[in-house]
């Protein structure tokens, strides 16, 4: 059993080093801009803004990660998001359809578009680059045709609540206002932090018990306590911070759920393993009995669905459907994945990494905007950061 213990300990340390690397880069950039913006970056108001500004790109980055894991990309996501915004606008404002129905319909349309592209990519074997480049043109064109080149506004409340709203503080309504240091607390936000902390502790303990059952090495109680305390303090600091402004942005809940689901699917399920195997060596995956065509197809269906979600969030944030929505979103999403350590040749990358990559881009954008740097320079700097991040990754791998 001694060999086993050694093995697993090594594994743990390696695994964390890689993830921490990206996280540390994010924190460093945040500290840098916190100083450069004289403390504006991390003001509760700005943190809420940061989340809302980047939510749609982060949603796209999750889907894009799966495409990149297969060794491909999707250039059409921005156009699909715009198309979904446009169809939603027409359904609601022109056809007077029920907004909830339209939400559901939008997701379905996203899935159908994804299936259309997935069909050409996976079954006809046209390179994804070409199919999605065509998709970019097709759906941008359709968007403009549907909207007649005009902007449609406004969307009903449900849209704006999803992307620009905050979770209503039902707890304060129930218990009455409570203040600390002369400030009224957002009780729901704080309760949410505590709830997440409790769930986290339970999952850590369960994982530990499970590993014990298999006779694997586990962290010593002291180490576990340190780890858990750090996480719990972090979670609650974050919610306490948000509490200072208006509480939890609704879109953060959506994002949190998506991140959890996709992290779980990619790291813990057979579906996730099949995607990684496909990207790592398609031939080997096929000869091991993985239905590679089906995997490839569903990755693009999924991308279509998430593009639709991003489209809804963006339309809600703008409170309008415009023909220019979603321009260059695909590039931001792709860059997020690469900055987050995904490999362009497929098979390597994590949802967590893609999110961190997206946040790095988001903080750069936001920080430079606060500093008053013009958009042109922002683009150039972002491009340079992308190149450097990937170069760092490539060079550090070569050294080994």
């Amino acid at each position: 059993m001694e060999g086993t213990q050694l093995t697993n300990r090594n594994r743990k340390i390696q695994f964390n080093a890689r993830q921490y690397g990206m996280g540390i880069a994010l924190i460093a950039i945040m500290i840098l801009f916190q100083i450069l913006t004289k403390g504006v970056l991390l003001k509760p108001l700005n943190v809420s803004n940061l989340i809302m500004q980047n939510s749609y790109v982060l949603v796209l980055a999750i889907g894009m990660l799966l495409c990149i894991l297969t060794g491909n990309i999707d250039l059409s996501v921005g156009s699909i998001a715009a198309f979904i915004g446009a169809t939603s606008g027409v359904f609601i404002m022109d056809f007077k359809m029920d907004p909830v129905l339209v939400l559901v319909l939008s997701v379905v349309i996203g899935g159908v578009i994804g299936a259309w592209q997935g069909f050409w990519i996976s079954y006809v074997r046209i390179p994804a680059f070409i199919v999605t480049l065509a998709g970019q043109l097709i759906f941008r064109g359709l968007t403009m045709a549907i909207l007649n080149g005009q902007t449609k506004a406004p969307f009903p409340d449900i849209y704006t609540v999803v992307s620009a709203g905050f979770v209503p503080d039902v707890l304060t309504d129930l218990l009455g206002p409570i203040s600390l240091f002369g400030k009224q607390l957002n009780l729901l936000t704080l309760a949410f932090g505590i709830l997440v902390s409790v769930l986290y502790i339970i999952s850590e303990l369960r994982k530990r018990a499970e590993m014990r059952r298999y006779n694997f090495a586990v962290l010593s109680p002291a180490m576990l306590a340190v780890k858990v305390t750090l996480m719990v303090v972090g979670i609650n600091l974050f919610t306490f911070w948000l509490n200072d402004y208006k509480g939890i942005p609704t879109v953060l809940v959506l994002l949190g759920v998506l991140i959890m689901i996709y992290s779980f699917v990619t790291s813990r399920t057979t579906i996730g393993r099949h995607i990684y195997a496909f990207g790592g060596n398609e031939k080997a995956a096929r000869l091991s009995g993985i239905n590679t065509k089906r995997v490839f197809f569903w990755v693009y269906v999924n991308m279509g669905v998430l593009s639709a979600v991003a489209g809804i969030v963006f339309a809600g944030r703008l409170n309008a459907a415009t023909p220019k929505a979603g321009v260059n979103f695909e590039l931001d999403a792709i860059a997020s994945c690469y900055i987050g350590g995904a490999s362009a040749s497929g098979g390597i990358g994590t949802v967590f990494g893609a999110i961190v990559g997206g946040l790095i881009m988001g903080v750069l954008n936001n920080g430079m905007s606060i500093m008053g740097i013009s958009v042109d320079w922002q683009q150039a700097i972002k491009g340079f950061v992308l190149l450097m991040a990937v170069a760092f990754d490539v060079l550090s791998k070569k050294k080994k």
């Binding site: 086993t4 393993r273 995956a285 009995g289």
Partner: protein, 511 residues
């Protein structure tokens, strides 16, 4: 011997764990066709790679004397400059460029970077005429057959003023008429003062065309036969190639052969790209419980294609024939289907089709059996680790940890990971394609032991191998395959290197 053009003296080349060439000597005269023969792995290609500079000076010991001058080649360019041209089995032509463009690729007829197309075409026509090829220089390479492509390669070598031409299995992919034409061209070149080294498995051709023959075996020069001095019949050559005592290289096994368990009859398959090319022709074979059946044959005989077409149609089109497993007719429409029915196929090419090199050992072992390790799509990671550890111990995979990336393992350990994957999938029928290719002797022995254990556990095992001694050493029964057909079935007693070779030669002549 004033007309010696090439002398390779005492060449020794080692790879980690293997001595590929052991004091090899080769002398080629400037007016001869010199054949280099030996089994797969005897060291022919390694020797030619040393000569052409693929393995640079310093990575081997011994010396090369070319045209009376000791040479140190550091890369292929060096040897080309001296006039040594090697034409590999896989042709180095660009399919979507014209014959003329290919002819002078990297050697363009140009002044100041501007290509002179008139000269290029004119020179191409000239060179094509020298190899008896009457094609328009503007024809694309992809539009002419393999035989003609081979001739273009030779013409290309002539364009560089070749002094010694090396052909590695030039006729392997050619039909009878094309082969005959190619051999004529080689003879013609010899008359015009271009000597040639030819590596070939087709001994009847060697017998016809060669002026002298050097036989390699296990990385050593066995003998050189000279025309009109020594006997140069096929039988004589085979004896030289084989003439080895089979030592104790195969672990002993008590075979307990049960009933027929898996069989195909009249199995046919066509090339997936070229629909009219039949690759597998009316193959019938069977394997019993607890039996190890070998399929022998030369490269390109269609063995891998046969195996993959049986494995859920992983290869080929228009597959016909009947397949039976455990007495019942079955049809595997997909690979998943085949695996679910207890058939496993270990690929011959573990790096490009077997392993995911960027993933670790654990993930590679579980890959074909994720269903077994998961509940409602959720993988039990702890169980997965346990399984990987179990197989690491069982198959003696030498690694510091199961989280080691398979790309960092040695060939033998990589193969053990592949084997672990399929053993864990728990199949009834295992098709092992070149299970010991490119791995060292010790690991080979271990893999033979694993195969024996599988057979002892009642599995039906089919082994495909290009190493004849291996097929003979581990099989209970041997099928001989050539040009898409089964051309012989030999019992353990009947099977010998000579009898297998004879089956192949006979069918080649008939075919």
């Amino acid at each position: 011997m004033d007309n010696v053009i090439l002398e390779m003296i005492d060449i020794t080349k080692e790879f980690p764990g293997v001595v590929a060439l052991d004091h090899v000597n080769l002398v080629v005269k400037d007016n001869e066709i010199h054949a280099l023969v030996g089994e797969n792995g005897a060291g022919k290609s390694t020797l030619m790679n040393v000569l052409s500079g693929v393995y640079p000076h310093g990575t081997y010991t011994g010396s090369i004397v070319f045209q009376g001058e000791e040479c140190e080649f550091h890369n292929i360019k060096d040897s080309e400059r001296k006039g040594i041209a090697i034409i590999h089995q896989e042709l180095a032509l660009v399919p979507y460029l014209s014959i003329a463009e290919n002819m002078f690729l990297g050697n363009e007829r140009a002044r100041g970077g501007v290509i002179n197309w008139q000269e290029t075409r004119a020179r191409t026509s000239e060179l094509l005429a020298r190899v008896g090829l009457h094609e328009n220089p503007d024809t694309l390479i992809k539009d002419i057959g393999v035989g003609k492509q081979q001739l273009v390669e030779i013409a290309k070598a002539l364009a560089k003023e070749v002094k010694l031409l090396i052909l590695d299995e030039p006729t392997a992919a050619l039909n009878e008429a094309e082969s005959a034409h190619l051999l004529d061209i080689i003879r013609e070149l010899k008359r015009r003062g271009v000597p040639c080294i030819i590596i070939s498995h087709k001994l009847n051709e060697v017998e016809q065309v060669a002026d002298s023959i050097t036989i390699l075996r296990d990385g050593a020069t066995i003998e050189t036969l000279v025309k009109d001095v020594d006997e140069m019949s096929e039988d004589r050559i085979i004896k030289g190639m084989v003439g080895r005592e089979i030592k104790d290289r195969w672990p002993a096994r008590e075979s307990e052969i049960g009933d027929v368990y898996f069989s195909v009859e009249n199995w046919c398959a066509f090339d997936p790209i070229d629909e009219d090319k039949q690759v597998i022709k009316n193959v019938s074979l069977h394997v019993c419980k607890g039996e190890v059946v070998g399929i022998a044959g030369l490269m390109g005989a269609g063995r891998t294609e046969l195996a993959m077409s049986m494995f859920g149609k992983a290869y080929g089109r228009k597959i016909t024939g009947t397949m039976k497993k455990d007495g019942k007719p079955v049809e595997f429409k997909t690979i998943q289907h085949a695996i679910r029915h207890g058939v496993a196929y270990l690929t011959e090419d573990r790096k490009t089709a077997g392993l995911i090199l960027i993933n670790d050992i654990r993930e590679n072992i579980s890959m074909a059996s994720l269903g077994k390790l998961s509940k409602r799509f959720v993988i039990n990671r702890n169980r997965e680790i346990q399984v990987a550890e179990e197989y690491r111990a069982k198959l003696n995979i030498k690694t510091p940890s199961i989280s080691q990336l398979t790309g960092n393992l040695s060939g033998g350990n990589q193969q053990k990971v592949c084997l672990s994957r399929w053993i864990f999938a728990d199949p009834d029928v295992l098709i092992l394609d070149e299970p010991t290719r490119g791995i060292d002797v010790g690991a080979k022995y271990e893999i033979y032991t694993i195969i024996n254990k599988l057979a002892a556990a009642g599995k039906a095992v089919i082994i495909i191998s290009s190493e004849l001694p291996e097929v003979l050493g581990i099989s209970d029964r041997v099928y001989v395959m050539n040009q898409g057909r089964i051309v012989g079935e030999l019992s353990k007693q009947e099977a010998s290197q000579e009898s297998v070779m004879r089956c192949i030669m006979q069918s080649s002549r008939e075919g």
